[in-house]
């Protein structure tokens, strides 16, 4: 699983930092490093930017996997520099930001927008694969998720806007249902598309409220 992130506009970061004078920077060695949004070089770039607006950076570190519970130990190891700061700026996904928040009492601000769970299709090109709806439909859709890859999350085949394999929203966007159709055709399973997919139970998704699993 890879969480795809992008850096927020610096003005937004600046607004979040507000009056804070001293900032500690945290990056992540896993997904954010892969996305070039929270690795060492991005952290150093952010350090320069933060200093340019007159703030002091008390220290920085790239936590191997910011969402992991070992983040707690990493934060303890750098306790002195963190203690010297007014706030923490985290260049990791929202999971990483919330993990850091869990272990620190100081204000923690995100430097990134968390976009989606995706994969790197080609170097530097990330595409969404799952919306974590809580009731997987991939068995019926040739392993291609229409909920995230169809702009309308349709469950019953391509809408009238599918032309030449592209989605109506953009010539750069593949029609998910064309991909599903082609794959099912190749597997001799087009009969699957004759069945009406029933109305979805969205209560397993975020629509049902914050989700929790207890093993």
């Amino acid at each position: 699983m890879k969480t795809i992130t992008e850096q927020k506009p610096f003005d937004e970061i600046k607004a979040a930092l507000g009056e804070a004078e001293k900032v500690y920077l945290v990056g992540c060695g896993t997904c954010a490093t892969m996305c070039h949004t929270g690795g060492k070089s991005e952290l150093l770039g952010m350090k320069d930017k933060v200093e340019t607006i007159g703030k002091k950076v008390t220290g920085w570190m790239v936590i191997p996997t910011a969402c992991d519970e070992l983040t707690r130990d990493a934060l303890i190891e750098s306790a002195e520099d963190i203690e010297a700061a007014d706030c923490i700026l985290v260049m990791a996904c929202a999971f990483g930001v919330q993990t850091v928040t869990l272990y620190l009492n100081k204000p923690v601000y995100p430097a990134l927008n968390t976009l989606f769970i995706g994969r790197e299709e080609s170097p530097g090109c990330f595409t969404e694969v799952c919306m974590q709806c809580g009731s997987c439909v991939l068995a019926k859709t040739a392993g291609i998720c229409p909920l995230v890859r169809c702009a309308k999350s349709l469950l019953n085949g391509p809408c009238g806007g599918s032309v030449d394999g592209k989605c109506e929203i953009s010539p750069d966007t593949s029609c998910a249902w064309q991909l599903i159709y082609d794959r099912l055709a190749a597997q001799g399973q087009l009969d699957k598309l004759e069945e009406i997919e029933p109305i979805k139970d969205w209560s397993t998704s975020q629509s049902g409220g914050p989700r929790k699993v207890t093993l």
Partner: protein, 305 residues
């Protein structure tokens, strides 16, 4: 009779139906809808009121339908899945029926990216095929989706769209079959310009016997200028305008006259295709042409049943 609407009576009696479209205003003026209603009342059997088409905010379809109803013009309420969840949808259906609306057209809806609120959150709780199922369930089982009983009747004549020009072409008839299985009563297609391709699709439709289970009205969009022809070809989702039509519009001395002639020719051709039970004229911003075209096509006077 399922709803006993004029449109249902016309189609069930085997007559060739004519419907048209009236887009509501980007404002609260009842007069805009009323003017279109007056213009169209004698030349069609029912008038569709679009539901925030192309995701541009306009007066609600329900309100537009009520305004037509007050004039004695039969409305078809369009309903898209983009903006409402199953709670709002079922509630609006009950309200529409209470206000005397019997025809509802079920659509997915254009993505909000095309509209004037591209930063909106869309809904798509259910899709257009599931919307048909929802309405059928309300009408035939008198039940909400949750299984609870609805008090009283919900008479509805259920419509949907079909686009023979979208891809994959072979799937288009399958999608129609799914809509039929879901319980649709009538279909209004995307604009037909390429009649040969439409005829091929209709052939597949009749081969599956779907024309016996659903009334298909061929969609038509009169073109009033070369610019519009190009715009339709290049920017309108799911519409295909052949070069031949573009050339005719380019060479025409009077573009409007030529546009009306083209639509008339298409009506003549689709009328002859087995399984076509009517036409649906979407004269976006050019409603004035409809009475003339319908008359010249020999479709006046409209039957009174």
């Amino acid at each position: 009779m399922k709803a006993g609407t004029n449109l249902e009576k016309i189609l069930e009696s085997g007559r060739f139906a004519v419907t048209a479209e009236a887009g509501p205003p980007k404002g609260a003026s009842a007069a805009v809808i009323q003017r279109k209603g007056e213009l169209l009342r004698h030349c069609c059997d029912a008038v569709n009121v679009t539901d925030n088409q192309t995701a541009i905010v306009r007066m609600s379809s329900l309100a537009g339908c009520v305004l037509l109803k007050q004039l004695g013009v039969e409305p078809v309420m369009q309903m898209v899945c983009r903006d409402k969840n199953r709670i709002a949808i079922q509630s609006d259906v009950l309200g529409a029926v209470a206000l005397g609306i019997g025809n509802i057209l079920c659509l997915s809806g254009d993505h909000q990216k095309f509209g004037n609120h591209p930063t909106a959150k869309n809904v798509f709780d259910i899709d257009s095929i599931q919307l048909i199922q929802t309405l059928k369930n309300m009408r035939d089982e008198k039940k909400f989706l949750c299984g609870e009983d609805i008090s009283g009747e919900v008479p509805l004549f259920i419509g949907a769209a079909a686009n023979p020009y979208a891809d994959p072409f072979e799937f288009r008839v399958v999608r129609l079959a799914k809509k039929v299985k879901a319980g649709v009563d009538f279909i209004q297609t995307q604009a037909v310009y390429d009649v040969a391709k439409f005829a091929r699709w209709m052939e597949m439709v009749t081969e599956r016997g779907l024309d016996k289970e659903v009334h298909i009205l061929a969609g038509l969009i009169p073109i009033r200028s070369v610019g519009m022809a190009r715009y339709m070809r290049d920017y309108v989702s799911g519409v295909s305008v052949p070069d031949e039509i573009l050339t005719r519009m380019e060479q025409a001395k009077d573009a409007k006259e030529e546009g009306a002639r083209i639509i008339l020719e298409i009506i003549e051709q689709v009328k002859e295709i087995p399984g076509v039970h009517g036409v649906h004229i979407m004269a976006v911003g050019w409603e004035d042409v409809i009475p003339q075209v319908v008359e010249q096509a020999g479709l006046l006077p409209r039957p009174v049943l």
